[in-house]
Amino acid sequence: MSAHLGERLSAFLDGELALDERAAVESHLRQCADCARELEELGAVDALARELPVQAPPGYFEALPGRVRSRMRARRRPRPVMVWMATAAAAILVAVIAPLTLRHGAQPAMAPATAPAAADAFKERALASEAPAMAQAVPAVPAVPAAAPTALPAERHLQERDKSQKLSRAAVDGALVAAPTAAAGGARSASALESATAARHDEGKAEPPAPAGFAPPPAAPRATLPAAPVGQAVEGFERERRVEEAQAKVKDAQAENIQAQNTDLREQVRPLKKSEDTAATPAPERKAPVAGALSAHVASVLPPDARFEGLRARRPASLTEARALRDAWEAFARDQPADPRADEARVRAIETGVTAWRLGGDAADLARARASAAAYLAADGSAQRARVRALLETLPRSPEP
C-alpha cells in the first residue's frame, strides 16, 4: 500500500475519518497522483466485489422459511402470557389445596364454615403476586433449582448447541464404550428434554417422544430452565414426571435391545476405534456400517429434535465419520418418516454420502449416493429435488473406477 496515506485511504473511502483527518487526506490526494489512483482502485475493487453474485442451490430459498419455522416451533418457550396463566392456575390450585391441608393438619378442629374464608384469603394473597413465596411454602409444588439469572438467549442456545454436539459426538465416539448402564441411567440432557417437551406443547402429540437415553455429564445443570415463578415450577414438575415415565419405557426398550447386542457390538467397536487411531488409509468396508449401526441405534432413543440437531452439528472430517453420518441421516429418515425434517435428512444423507466419496475416493460410496439420489428423485414426497439434482451435477458423469 502506498506509504503516503496507508490505511487511511480505506477509511477515507468509507467516510470513517474524523473531519480533520479527512481534510488532510483530501489535501494530500490533490497533490499525489499515486494515492489518487490507489483510492480509485480500492473503489473499483469494492464495486467489482459487489457484482459478485451468490447463488444458493436451486430450491433452497423456497424451503428455508419452512425449515426455520419448524425449528422455531421445536424450540419455542412458554411465552409470558402462558406463564402468567400457569401462575394463576397454580395459585388457584394452591388456594384450594392449602386450606384443605391446613384443615386436616395444623387446624383439625377448624369448623367447615371457616374454610371458604381461609381459601379466599389465600386466594387473594396468591393473586397479589406472591406466587414465589408460595412455591416454597407449599410442599406439593416442587422447588425449581434456584436458577441463576439465565444466560441471554443467544448464549443459552450456544449451551444447547454444545450439548447437542456432545450428544452427537457421544453417539459417534463413545456411546458404546460407556456401555448401556451408563446410557440408560445417565443424566438427562436439558436441551433434549426441553426440545421434547417444547415439541409436545406445540404440536400436542399424544405420544411423548423418547427422552434422552444417554446424555452429557450429569453435572449439566437445568440452567436452561428460566428462573421461574410457581407456574413454571408446576410445569417443570409435569415435565419431569412425563419424562421419567417415558424414560422408564426407554429403559425397558434398551434393556431388551441394547443390552442384547452389547457384547458383540463392543467387540466390534474396539477394533474399529483402534484402527481409526492408527490407520490413515480408508477404513475397511465393514467399519462404517458398524459405527453407523451403533450410533444410529443409540441415537434412535433420542428425541427427534435432539437427534436432528445433533446430526446437523456434526462435521465429518474423515471417511469413517462421513459414512457414519450418512448412515445416521438415513436412519433418522427411516425412523421418523412422518417428521417434517425427514426430507431434509434424506437430502443430507445423499450429500454426506458424496462427502464420504470425496474424502475417501471409494466408488462404492459414490454409487450409493447416486442410488440414494435416484431413489429420492423418484419418490413421491420429495421436496428438494432441485437441490439433489444440483448436487448430482457436481459429480462426474460416470462413477470413477
Partner: protein, 218 residues
C-alpha cells in the same frame, strides 16, 4: 444491498403455509411484521425470513464459503434473532441486525477448531451476470473469477470485515460490535483486505479506468 440470489429473483410462496399465512403479509411494513412477530406470530416472522433470507445467506456464504455451513449459520441467525426479538428496537432496521448476527456466527464457525474451509461445490459457486458488452464481459468475468479467488484467500477475519462493510454496508462501529473487536482493528483489517484484493486484481484494474468506470466516489 442487492439481493444476492439471482437464481431466485421472485418472491416465492414455497416453504410456507399459504393457506394460513396472512394474505397481506407480503404487503405489511417491516415494523408491523416485527411487532406481530414480537407478539409471537410465527407467520409474521416467517415473512421476515422470506424477506431477508437471501441477504443473510449471502453474508454467511461469503464468509464461510460453504453452502452447508452457511445454511446452518442462516438458520441459527434467524433462530437467535427470533429469540432476541423482544429486545429488538422496532425503530431500527432489521437487515443490519440480522446480518450482524449471521456474521458473528459465521466468523465464530470459521474460527472454531472443527471448521475446515473447503470451498463451495462447483454448482454453488459464483456465476457471471449479464455484462454490458462482450469485450468488457470477458475482462469482467476474468476479473470476477480472480477476485473470488482472492477473497477466498483472505483470512476469515479479514473477509468478515470486508463483507460486512462492502456488502452489508455496516459502519466501522457496527462491525466492531458484531465481531467484538475494536474500531481500530476493523480499520486495519479492512485496509489489509482491500490491499490484498487490489494487488490480486492489479492486472485488471487499468481497464475500468480506461473505460471510465467509477468506484471510488462513495
Amino acid at each position: 444491498m442487492d439481493a444476492p440470489s439471482r437464481a431466485d429473483p421472485s418472491r416465492d410462496q414455497a416453504g410456507g403455509a399459504p393457506g394460513r399465512a396472512a394474505p397481506d403479509a407480503a404487503d405489511a411494513t417491516e415494523a408491523a411484521l416485527l411487532a406481530q412477530a414480537q407478539g409471537g406470530n410465527l407467520f409474521a416472522f416467517e415473512e421476515i425470513v422470506k424477506r431477508y433470507q437471501r441477504r443473510v445467506y449471502a453474508t454467511a456464504v461469503r464468509i464461510v464459503h460453504r453452502h452447508d455451513v452457511a445454511d446452518d449459520v442462516v438458520q441459527e441467525a434467524f433462530l437467535r434473532a427470533h429469540q432476541a426479538l423482544g429486545r429488538f428496537d422496532l425503530a431500527r432496521p432489521f437487515g443490519p441486525w440480522i446480518c450482524r448476527i449471521a456474521a458473528n456466527l459465521a466468523v465464530n464457525h470459521v474460527r472454531s477448531p472443527v471448521s475446515r474451509e473447503e470451498g463451495l461445490p462447483e454448482a454453488h459457486a459464483e456465476t457471471a451476470s449479464a455484462a454490458p458488452s462482450p469485450l468488457v464481459g470477458v475482462l469482467d468475468a476474468e476479473a470476477r473469477a480472480q477476485l473470488a479467488r482472492a477473497m477466498e484467500a483472505l483470512s476469515a477475519d479479514q473477509r468478515a470485515v470486508f463483507v460486512l462493510r462492502v456488502f452489508d454496508e455496516l459502519s466501522y462501529k457496527e462491525i466492531a460490535e458484531s465481531l467484538e473487536i475494536s474500531i481500530g482493528t476493523v480499520m486495519s483489517r479492512l485496509a489489509r483486505a482491500r490491499e490484498r484484493l487490489r494487488v490480486a486484481l492489479a492486472p485488471y484494474l487499468a481497464a475500468p479506468r480506461v473505460r471510465g468506470a467509477e468506484g471510488g466516489d462513495r
